[in-house]
Symmetry: C4
Subunit: 463 residues, 4 copies
C-alpha cells in the first residue's frame, strides 16, 4: 500500500514535469551558456583593462580619451564652426549632455542665420537676373545652381536646427542602450574620425579658395577692364552684382563675404552628410564589435533578443536622421554630379594660363575626391548594417533559436542606408552607376568635342 502515496507524489511530479517539458531544455542550456559568457566577458575585460593603464597623459589627450563616445560630443566642435558660418543655429552644441540643446527663434544665432539667408536670397536674385539676360546653356547656369543650392541648404539647415535637440535626445537614448565600448580608444575613435574629416575637408576647401583667388586675380589683370587691379578682381568675381550696379567698395565687400560664406556652406553640406554617416556607421560598428566578441559562441536567446532590439533602434535612428537630412543629401549629390560634369566639359579646353591650370586641376581633383568621400562614407552605413549578418551566420546549431532567425531575416530584408529623398539609397552600387554615367557622358562629349570658348572674358567666372 505504501506504493500508492509514492506513486501519487510521482504523478504530481510527473504532472509538473510534463508542464515544464519544453522549458527544461532551454533554461538548462541558457544557464550553461551564460556561465561561459560570463567567464568570457571577465576574460575580455581583464585583457583590456591592462592597456588603458597608460601612466602619463597630457591634459588635452586625457580629455579626448575621456569622451563618452557619444555622437553629440563628437559633432559639438563641428557644429560650432557651422554656426560661425550662419548654419544650424542651435544652442548648447558643446554641452556635455544633449538635454542642454535648445533652439529659439529669438537667439542671436538664429537672427544671424536669417540675416544671411536674406543676403543670399538677394545675391541669388542678382545671379538669376544676369543668367536670364544671357543665352542659357549647360555651363552658364552654374552660378544659379551654385547659389540656389547654398540657399536651399541654408533653409534646410535652419529647419534641421529646430529638430536637432529632439534628434540628439533620441540618439542619446539609442547610444545609452547599446553594448558599452570596451576601451577608451574605441570611444575616442568616432569623434576623432569626424574631426579629421572636417579638418582635412576645410583645409582643402581653404586651399582651393586661395588658388581660386590667385587665378581670378591673374584672370582679372588679363581681361582688365579698369586700371585698379582690386576693382578688376571684384568686377570679375562678383559680376552678378556689378551687372546691375556700378562698382562701389561696400558692394564689393558684401560680394566677397557672400562668396566666402557660400563656398564654405557648399563644402560644408558634403562634410555634414559624411559626419552623420560616420556617426551612424560607428553605431552599427559598436553593435557588430559586440557580436564579434561572442562570434560562434553559444549565447542565450535573450542575448540575441537584446541585440535585435538594439539593431532595430539604430535602424529607426537611421531613418529619423535620413528623414531630417535627406534633402541635404539630395542637394549634395546632384550638385557634385553637375559640377563634375561641367568641370570635365571645361577640362577639354585649353587653359589661358598656368595659374588657371593649377587651380582648375586642383579644384577638379578636390571635387572628385570629395564626391567619392561622401559616397563611400555614406555607403559605409549600409555596409556596416549588412555586416551584422556575418556574425549571425556563425551562430552554432545549438543556439539557433527563433530570435536569431528573426534577427537574421530582418537584417536580410531591410535596406538600411541614407537616401536622397528615398529616390535612391546611398550604397556602393550607386557609386558605380554614378561613375558609369559620368564616364559615358564624357565619352560622348570627347567624341564630338569642338573647342568651345568657355574661358572668354564675358563668362561668369566665380564658380
Amino acid at each position: 500500500m505504501k506504493f500508492l502515496p509514492k506513486m501519487g507524489r510521482k504523478l504530481r511530479r510527473l504532472k509538473t514535469k510534463v508542464r515544464k517539458l519544453d522549458l527544461v531544455h532551454e533554461s538548462a542550456r541558457k544557464k550553461a551558456l551564460q556561465e561561459s559568457c560570463e567567464t568570457y566577458k571577465n576574460h575580455m575585460d581583464n585583457e583590456f583593462e591592462v592597456p588603458i593603464k597608460i601612466p602619463k597623459l597630457s591634459r588635452s589627450t586625457k580629455e579626448a580619451f575621456l569622451s563618452d563616445g557619444s555622437f553629440h560630443q563628437a559633432v559639438g566642435r563641428v557644429l560650432i564652426v557651422a554656426e560661425f558660418f550662419a548654419m544650424m543655429p542651435v544652442k548648447g552644441v558643446t554641452g556635455k549632455h544633449p538635454s542642454n540643446l535648445s533652439f529659439s527663434w529669438r537667439s542671436i544665432r538664429t537672427c544671424f542665420s536669417l540675416l544671411f539667408i536674406a543676403s543670399s536670397l538677394a545675391n541669388f536674385g542678382l545671379s538669376l537676373f544676369k543668367v536670364l539676360n544671357n543665352p542659357i546653356s549647360f555651363n552658364s547656369v552654374k552660378p544659379i545652381i551654385f547659389r540656389g543650392s547654398v540657399l536651399l541648404v541654408l533653409m534646410v539647415a535652419l529647419n534641421l536646427a529646430r529638430q536637432w535637440p529632439q534628434l540628439m535626445m533620441y540618439w542619446h537614448t539609442v547610444e545609452k542602450d547599446l553594448p558599452q565600448y570596451k576601451t577608451q580608444l574605441a570611444k575616442w575613435k568616432m569623434g576623432h574620425t569626424i574631426s579629421m574629416v572636417m579638418l582635412v575637408g576645410m583645409m582643402l576647401s581653404f586651399a582651393e579658395h586661395i588658388l581660386s583667388m590667385v587665378s581670378a586675380i591673374n584672370y582679372a589683370s588679363f581681361c582688365n577692364r579698369t586700371a585698379d587691379p582690386i576693382q578688376n578682381y571684384f568686377l570679375r568675381t562678383n559680376d552678378e552684382i556689378f551687372f546691375v550696379a556700378s562698382y562701389s567698395a561696400p558692394l564689393a565687400v558684401w560680394g566677397k563675404f557672400q562668396n566666402v560664406y557660400s563656398t564654405f556652406i557648399w563644402n560644408y553640406m558634403d562634410m555634414f552628410v559624411m559626419m552623420v554617416s560616420i556617426g551612424l556607421a560607428s553605431k552599427f560598428q559598436q553593435l557588430n564589435d559586440d557580436l564579434r566578441n561572442f562570434k560562434g559562441m553559444n549565447m542565450a536567446p535573450t542575448y540575441w533578443s537584446e541585440r535585435r532590439i538594439q539593431y532595430r533602434n539604430i535602424c529607426i535612428l537611421c531613418e529619423k536622421m535620413d528623414n531630417a537630412i535627406s534633402l541635404i543629401t539630395m542637394v549634395s549629390f546632384s550638385n557634385n554630379l553637375y559640377f563634375i560634369c561641367v568641370q570635365l566639359l571645361r577640362s577639354l579646353n585649353t587653359m589661358p594660363s598656368v595659374a588657371h591650370a593649377v587651380y582648375f586641376y586642383f579644384s577638379l581633383i578636390f571635387l572628385i575626391g570629395r564626391t567619392l568621400a561622401v559616397s563611400l562614407y555614406s555607403a559605409s552605413v549600409h555596409d556596416e548594417s549588412r555586416l551584422t549578418l556575418r556574425y549571425l551566420r556563425c551562430v552554432p546549431k545549438e543556439s539557433w533559436c527563433p530570435e536569431v532567425k528573426r534577427f537574421s531575416e530582418e537584417v536580410i530584408s531591410d535596406v538600411v542606408a541614407l537616401s536622397g529623398m528615398k529616390f535612391f539609397h546611398l550604397t556602393r552600387n550607386l557609386v558605380l552607376s554614378v561613375a558609369g554615367t559620368i564616364v559615358t557622358y564624357e565619352l560622348v562629349l570627347i567624341q564630338f568635342h569642338e573647342d568651345n570658348d568657355l574661358w572668354d572674358c564675358n563668362q561668369s567666372y566665380y564658380s
Copy 2:
C-alpha cells in the same frame, strides 16, 4: 484506499491537462493581452472623443464630416465631372451605396460617350492624314500621339465603366472589413485629398488652356492667313481639319469642342490614376494606423491573423484595380514622358513672342509638376504597403508567433504597386530612372543643338 479515487481524479485531470498542454500558454497570454488592449483602446477612444466635440458646424462641413470614408463616396463627384466630359458612363456614382451603381449600353451617358468616341476617331483620322502628308519627325507626330492617346483612354474608360460596379462592390467589401476609423477627421481625409487634387489639377489645366488660346490668337495674328482673326485662330488650332476641308463655322466649332474635350481627357487620365492611387494608399494607411495604435504591444495571434487577411484583401484589391486601369497608367506615363521630351526640345529654341514664352513655360512646368504628382501619388501605394513592415518589426519577442512571421514574410516578398501593364511598377525608384533618362536625353540634345525652326507657321500648333 481513499487515495486511489483522488489519484484517479488527478489522473483524469492530468489527462485533460496534457491534451491542453499547448493551448494553455497561448490562451492565458491572449486573455492578458486582450485586457490590456481593451484598456488601451478605451484610453485611445477617450482621447479622441474630446476633440471631435466641436460645438458648431456649418451644414455642408457637417455632411463632409459625416462621410463614411468609403472610396465610392470619395470619387462620386469626381466621376460626375468625368461623365460630363463623356468618360466613364456609369449610373449611380453619387449614390450612398455602391450597389446602386449600374452600367447600361442604352443609357444616355453611354450614347454620349460612344458619340464622342466616334467624333474623336474622325478627328484622329484627319490628324493622321495631315501628319503622313508631311515629313515625319519626333516633333511632328505630336498631334497623332495626343489624339491617339485620348481615343485609347476613352475606349479603355468605356470598358472600365462596365466593370466599375463590380469593382466598387469589391472595394466596399474590403473597406467594411478593415479596422474602423477612430475619428471623423480620418474618415474625411481621403475624400478631401481626392477633391483637392482634382480641383487643383482642373484649375491649372483650365489656366493652361486659356494661356494656350491667348498664345494661339497671338500666333494666328502673326502668321495671319486671312483677315478674320477668329478664322485665323481656328485655322491654326484645327489645322488637321482645314487641311482637307475649307473653312466653315460649324467645322470650327466642332474642332474647338474636340480640342476642349480632348485637353480635359488628356489631363483627366493623370487625375484618375492619382485618384485610384490615393484611394489604395489610404486603405493601407487605415490598416497601418491600426497597427501603429498597437505598436510594441502584446497582441493575440488572432489579431495578427485578422490584420494579415485584411492586408491580403487590400493587395487583391490593388491587383484588381491595377488590372482594370493599367492601360490608362501606361498611356498616362508614356504620354507624359514623350511630351516632356518634346517640350524640352522646343525649350532650346527662341520664343517668337512673350505670350508664347509665358504659355510655354507655364505649360512645361505644369506638365512636369503633373507628371511628378502622378508618379509620387502612385508610388505612395507601394510606400504605404511597405510601411506595414515597420510595425511588424516592433512586435515584442513574447507575441512573435507564426502568424506574425507569415505576415511579415508576405509583406517582404510581395511587390504591391500599380503598374504599367505589369511592365514596370510605379515606385519611387521609377521616378528616379525616368528623371535620369530625361536628363541624359536633354544633355545629349543640348550638346548637339542647332536651332531648329520649330516655331514656323506651317507647323501643327495645337499640342
Copy 3:
C-alpha cells in the same frame, strides 16, 4: 479495488494518447478536410460534366477534343513542318507516345538536314566574301548576320533533335504526375494555342515573302542590269552568288531555294521559342488551376507536399528545356533586336516606290509584332510560375504548415524563366528595357539623322 484495473486501463490509454499527442490534431483535421474536399471535387466534377455532353461533334473536332493534353502531341504537327524545312530530324513526332521518338544519323531526315546545312554554309561563305569586299557598316553586315544566325540555328536544332526523345520522355513523366485536367476543353487548349501561333506566324511570314518578291521585282526592273526581268530579280536577291559567279539558271534556283528555306527557318526559331514557352506556361497553369480549385480551403499537408513536388518537377523541366534551347533563344532575341534597329534606321529614308513602302512597313510591323509575341509568350512562363504564390497566400491559418511554408519560400526565391544562355531571363521587365534601348537608340538616330542612301542599287538587297 475495481478502480485500479479501470485506472490501469486509463493509464494505458493515456500512454497511447500521449504518444499520439501531436498526431491527433492533424489527422482529425485531415479527415474533415478531405471529406469537404471530396464533396467539393464531386461538386466541381458535376459542374463540369454537363457542358462537355455536347451532342454532335464532327470527327476531326472530336479527335482534337480527345487529345490527352500532352506537349508531345501538341507539337507533333509543328515539328513535321520543321522537318520538311530540314530542321529537327526526329522520327515519330506524330506518334501517340514519346517513347516512339528516335534520332538516327542514318535516317533520311538527318541526311537532308545535313545536306541543307552544307548548302547554307556555302551560301554563308559567299555572303561573307561579298561583305568583306565592301566597306563594313551597321547596315551592310545584315546578310552575314541573317545567314549566320540561320546556320547557327540549324546546327543547334540538329543537336536538339538528338536530345529531343529524352526531353519528351521527361516531359511525359512530369505531365503524367500533374493534377489531371478537369475538362476536354482544358486538354485541348495548349495544342490549339500552339497550332494557332504557328499558323498565324507562318501565314504572315508567307505574306511577307510574297511582298518581298513583288518589291524585289519592282526594284530589279528599276535598277535593271540586264534585259531579262527574271534574271534581274535573281541578280538582285542573290547578289552574294553572282558576285563571284556569272548568272546561270541552276545557281539562281539554288539561291531562291536557299532564300525561301532561310526565311522559313529565321521565322521558325521565334515560333519554336514561343511553342516551348506556351508548353511550359500551360504546365504551370495546370498546377495553378488545381490550386485555384482548392483556394482558401483547409487541405492536408500531403496535398501541399504533392503540389510542391509537382511545382519542383516543372521547374526542373523548365531548366532542362532552357538548357536545350537557350542558344536558339539568344540568337532569336539578338537577331530581332538587330533587325529592328536596322529597319528603323532604314525607315528614316525616303522609299524608292510604293511597293517598297508597303513591303517595308509590313515587314517592320511583322518584325516588331513577332518580337513582342516571342517576348510576351516567353515571359508568360515566369508570370505563371509566380502566380502560384497567389494561391499560397490564401491558405487559411489552420492549414498553414511547414510544407506550405516551404512551398511558398521556394516560389518566392526561385526565378523560373527561359533565358538567353543564363545572361538574361525572359521576363516582362526585359521587354521594357529592350523597348527602352530601342527607343533611346532611335531618338539619338533621329536627332542626328542625315539621309543615307541606303536604297542604292549596289546595296545587298535581300535581307
Copy 4:
C-alpha cells in the same frame, strides 16, 4: 494488488517516455537514414573503386593523378612563372604543404620584384611626360593606362605576396574539412583546368607579342626615321624613352625588357583572376558533388549541419580571397573595358598594311576572348554557389529540418561572388550589361564616325 507495482513500473516508463517524446521520432529516423546512407556510400565507393585500377600509368601522369586536389598544389607551377616575371615573390610555392610558404623582404625574389617596380615606375614617368606634352584624347592616354595598371598590379601583387602564406593556410583548413573527392580524376581536375588556362593564355599572349613585333617592324620601316631598321623599331616601340633621351642600345634593351615584362603582367592579371575563380568554383563544386550523391535521400540533420558549415567556410574563403585580389579584379576589368573600346574605335579606320590588319584583328579577338573568359570564369563562382540550392530543393519532406531550412535561407540570401572592390559583383548579369555598354558605345561611334588618322607616325604605337 499485483497490478500496482506493474502500474508503478508503467508510470516510470511513461515518465521516461514522455521526456523522450520528441527525441524518439528523430533518432529512429536518423538511424534508418544513416544505415541507408552507409549502404549507399559503400555502393558508391565500390562503383568508383574499379575504374581507378587502370593497370599501367606513365610516371608523370601518375604524379598528376596523385595530386591531393589542393589549390596550393594546383597553382604552384603557375606562381613560379609569375615569380620569374617579378610578381608574387613568395617562397615555397611548389612545396607539398602550404605551411612551407613564406615571405621575406630580404629574399632575392622580393628584391627582384622591387627592382622591377622601380624600373616600371621610371618607365611610367617617361610615358606620363610624353603624353602630357601632347593633346590628350581617349586614344592618346593608352600608354599611361597600360603602364599605370601594370605598375598598380605589381604593387598589389607584392602586397598580396605578404598575405599569401596565411591565405593558403586558411584555404588548406577549408579544403581539409570538405567532403573528400571520390576519384583521383576529380582531384586532378582543378589543377588541370588551371594549367590549361594558363598555358593557352600564355601561348596566345606570346603569339600576339610576336605579331605585334612583326607589325611594328613593318610600321617602323614605313615611317623610317633612321637608316638602321633595328633602331627604327626601338624608336617606335619605346617612343616614351627616346622622347627625352637620344638613342642608345642599353636604353633600347631596357625598353624592350620593360615591354615584354609589362605585356606578360598585363596578361597575367587576367589569368590570376581566372585561376582564383577556378579554385573557388571547384571548392563549391566539391561540396555540390557530395550533395548530388545524396540528392533526394533522407539524411540526418547533422549531415546538413556539416554541409552548411562547409558552405559557410567556402563563403568566408571567398570573401578573404576577394578582399585580397579585388583591386586586381577591378584593374583587370576596367583595363579590358577600356582597351576593347579603344581597339573598336581604331577598327573603324583603314589599316596601313596587311601585317597591321592581321595583328590588329588577332589582338582584338584575343582581347575580347580573354575578357569573356575572365568574366565567365569569375561568374562561375557565383553560379556554383547558387547551384547548391538545387539539391536543397530536393530534400524530401521527412528530412526537412531547421538545419536544411537555415542552409537554404543562407544560400538564397547571400551573394557569393568575386567583386571589383565591392562596387560590382562578377556575375553573368554583369557580362551582359558590360557587353550592352560596349555595343551601345560602338553604335554611337559608328553612327557619327569620321575617319580619324589614328595610325599616323607620330602616334605612340606600342600597346
